[in-house]
Symmetry: C2
Subunit: 329 residues, 2 copies
């Protein structure tokens, strides 16, 4: 399912990160960073909520608007029942839709908002996502064994939140088109292999997007997945070639960009719903605004497993959504 | 945030229930029912997925369509990371958006779909929700103490799934307007008091809907909340009067309709995302088709707590979304 847009722009963004991301190569592209994991809150979960509130506050400050000026707040995170989004929505008091497609939630939100802005049903929307390394470890991997090694295919959940303000105002980055993904499941049961789990979903969505828009890979200055990790990235490149006879060019993955994979102990790279939009809104948008990149296809990928599904030894379904972003001339 | 629609209709629905709902007063209004809680699946969670697949299959059968004819599948449930929706989406292979606003997810989905159908962005959509008594008990109340009594304010999670097919075809029930809710939190921390938790959110959404549409309560033949339960229903009636000076007339709550509260051991009534749409698509739509009801405002209410938030003794935020349904003349 592919949509084309004429009147949707990401006018402003807000990005907040934790200590690992602060030590990473993109630190100068984020609006705010913390040195600890609590941010003056009592629990990791409440801290994650604060990340969302912070990133929304940054957006509102940049726009010189208040929460009363915002028509809709769409948010998602990895916590059971979207705990961090719910409490942020409670603090903000903006009409709220919670969404969940794991780490594809960022683009799910952008597509939903873009459709409503394009149709004139809302005049603006703030789309947020968050993730927090400690809430994710606690929820998905408890008990985390002290000193226990993990396989190199593991990704490291990013601590941060990214928010985007969308409206029909012709400022910032244009949302040009988008493709909703289909769930793919190639039978992998290992939750430490998320890159391999998600690569087929990413491949299908890229293929479908190019087909629906009648475009070649070369149309885009950058195709950016998030987050397959260093190993999943290679799998995607090979799988695109084998399955769809498409050679990926100008391709990168946000998991491998947010950290220094050589010097930070983050296995295959970053993950979590926040990783892809943090890299995109921070680093990629700065390149786009300098016209170093004009057309970017952001493909957010989500691994749709839970502790229950892993314990029941079920195969892991995955999904990817794509959004085409362009510089406003 | 209130939307008006001209070209959106719920053409067909599919409803599937479990054994308790089968013993309830509305049994004749559901499309399919089961006598056990497993439905030939190995786990409760996989069984819940099957409920969704069943209800979608029923819709497709009634329409004489296949899954390839459907543009979008929107689904939500109570399970961590939307486990049952994810596996149903994997089986169906329709472009998929996962959503979560707890028991308000049904109307969240209907609003998102209605906006896209109204704008002509999609030609149709299937919106599903599910809940399963045993998956909910296991996830939210584990360890469930054997023989342990519960307070009378408790609600009983409905086992079932309800799916609706929306398109611009002028058949079935017209979606006339809708209002997105705002999160309300009056400080209650007791997850056995969900009616009291959600009543203020329902009250605000009803008030906002009437204000935005410049309507009186009497405009609607029925205002239907789901699910406040027998106690929450009284709280809402009083709260509407005190807080907004609105006297609720022609008002009922789906929690009190799906079971026989006198003779079934279900405390304050039904709950779970499936309860409100099961009652609405089954029983209420049959009354509407007979023109016994012409205008119905369905207000789905969600309690946005999780095991973590309850364990951290946080107050419980809640939300309600409203959708106005009319008989096509």
């Amino acid at each position: 399912m592919t949509f084309k847009y004429k009147n949707v722009y990401i006018n402003e963004t807000g990005t907040v990160v934790g200590p690992y991301e602060k030590e990473g190569p993109l630190v100068n592209y984020f609006d705010k960073s913390y040195n600890d994991f609590y941010f003056n809150k009592k629990t990791f979960e409440q801290a994650e909520s604060k990340l969302i509130e912070d990133s929304v506050d940054i957006v509102l400050d940049k726009l010189d608007k208040t929460r009363f000026d915002i028509d809709l707040f769409i948010s998602g995170d990895l916590l059971n029942q979207l705990m961090s989004s719910n409490y942020a929505a409670s603090t903000l008091g903006i009409p709220y839709f919670g969404i969940y497609n794991a780490c594809a939630s960022s683009v799910e939100g952008l597509i939903l908002a873009s459709n409503m802005v394009e149709a004139g049903q809302i005049k603006n929307c703030i789309c947020s996502v968050s993730s927090h390394n400690n809430t994710a470890e606690k929820q998905f991997r408890y008990p985390v064994e002290y000193g226990g090694p993990k396989p190199k295919t593991t990704t490291f959940t990013t601590t941060g939140s990214a928010s985007a303000y969308l409206s029909y105002n012709k400022e910032g980055i244009k949302v040009e088109s988008a493709t909703i993904g289909v769930v793919k499941d190639l039978g992998i049961k290992d939750a430490y292999q998320m890159g391999a789990v998600m690569a087929p979903a990413a491949a299908y969505t890229i293929y479908k997007h190019l087909k629906d828009t009648k475009r070649e890979v070369s149309y885009y200055d950058l195709i950016l997945t998030g987050d397959l990790g260093s190993i999943g990235k290679k799998i995607l490149t090979e799988y695109m070639q084998t399955e769809y006879n498409i050679e990926l060019k100008n391709y990168d993955d946000t998991a491998t960009m947010i950290y220094d994979l050589e010097n930070q102990d983050v296995y295959s790279g970053g993950s979590g719903p926040a990783c892809a939009p943090l890299v995109t809104y921070g680093y990629i948008f700065s390149l786009m605004k300098k016209k170093k990149l004009k057309r970017v296809l952001l493909v957010a990928t989500g691994s749709l497993h839970s502790v229950s599904s892993v314990n029941q030894k079920l195969t892991i379904p995955s999904i990817a959504h794509a959004i085409s972003l362009e510089v406003v001339e």
